[in-house]
Symmetry: C2
Subunit: 300 residues, 2 copies
Amino acid sequence: MTLFRGLSAFPITPTDAHGRVDTGALDHLLERLQTAGVDSIGLLGSTGGYMYLTREERRRAIAAAARSVGGRTPLIVGVGALRTDEAENLARDAASEGADALLLAPVSYTPLSEEEAYQHFAAVAAATDLPLCVYNNPGTTHFTFSDALLRRLASVPNIRAVKMPLPKDMDFKAELGRLRQDTPDEFAVGYSGDRGAADALLAGADAWYSVVGGLLPEPALRLVRAAQAGDVAEVRRIDRHCQPLWELFKEFGSIRVMYAAANILSLSEAVPPRPILPLTDANCVRVTAALEALSGLMRP
Amino acid sequence: MTLFRGLSAFPITPTDAHGRVDTGALDHLLERLQTAGVDSIGLLGSTGGYMYLTREERRRAIAAAARSVGGRTPLIVGVGALRTDEAENLARDAASEGADALLLAPVSYTPLSEEEAYQHFAAVAAATDLPLCVYNNPGTTHFTFSDALLRRLASVPNIRAVKMPLPKDMDFKAELGRLRQDTPDEFAVGYSGDRGAADALLAGADAWYSVVGGLLPEPALRLVRAAQAGDVAEVRRIDRHCQPLWELFKEFGSIRVMYAAANILSLSEAVPPRPILPLTDANCVRVTAALEALSGLMRP
């Protein structure tokens, strides 16, 4: 299965000010990803603003994306929600609209116990036949998975992968080793994040769930293919070109930077869902410079 | 204005398994609060599970509560939402259904900047004429208000109060002093939480936004009235009776304990919204013991 392997590209979901998805603009972004040849598309991830969209708008986005990819590129769809029954419904919607896999984060308001998170994941995994990837994203969910919980989740039918952040000690390789030991052989462990992706891929991460890849698939693919070929020097070279962008991601959060980049590149006029604010003009100048650094990479 | 003063009682919102509000059960809980004479009712707070209810169910809960209180007790209604436009709509719904005031927390998925939080509050405050209380609840929102942001918010028209947690250094009195210095005289600073309420009230907090008061108004009112009368010994005595309950709140989170208590006291058969799980039978035995310790207080 190549579903949870290689480059998984996570685009923004362009909407109007009221949260209505602009399916034409979304289609345009997805076409770029398919032309570039990404390994999968991560629709309605954090950068895709899934938590800011209604069930109906998420359904429209999935239907539009399924039409756009037409089975050519696997479609992984975020189905996180605060209520378990709502996440189950979103999973069923995703399945009926043509998703190939699900992505689920332990979104919460009241902080969840491990048992509550486990039951939540088990219920959503059982709601459809689709393979499910555990979305470990403490930056937004503030939930910490223990090794024991991940081991337990990896044994749930349909749960086939995890999207892991850079650990606190920054040692993704050690974490990958522990997870591989604790989970079935076919369970895929991918890297969630952009800064640190070079190290994670060289350490053997099965996939890179990439924000930059959702808008600029070519440089992200080059990095993944170089890592897959074991070309460490090339991976490092590409990563250096990405540094200005990683710095902006760290400073402003990747979703704000990606909206600015999409605007600058005339790929979308959409702005983030409020309360999230667009970057100031001064900061957009810095995004332009970071994009220029990145495009230097693509020159022959 | 007594709205943001004294005991503000925050009940659970009984629902069925699908998140439909049981208005009859809610009415029963609210009747108890009014009979006891609480100073205000906090509907759809964190214990009231507001983030787990749809806009329509929140509207139904407000309408039912407004009918139940009939103008006798001020009704403060939680209108937090991830999107600014949704929170504005919830505020308008609350106003049209009969709320007397709004409570707003900076709920987020993508962590918010200070400017984003400010703009969010200013927009929701401007959506109606109702006075608004800032809900500072880092335990669920993971958002930290700076003193500068609170000062800025206190100068927004309609923003009249803040519901503050126990600070990290546990010194509510010092925090209260700082806030009083920084905000207009009529701006009310209340205490959010149950453990620590005795100290906060003795330190001069304008209000106690109380979870226990939402189910057991008599002991909570006794504590508030003793503090208002400056009877330190009585405040301490009541607080000692509450300790077993405060310990359970700390261990399990107050929402889970309050659902168990409501079940044990036959005041509601409702369970928390999943993924939140009811307490185990063994832990319910501990809740029963804590309720018994509290009822000892009420014996003549």
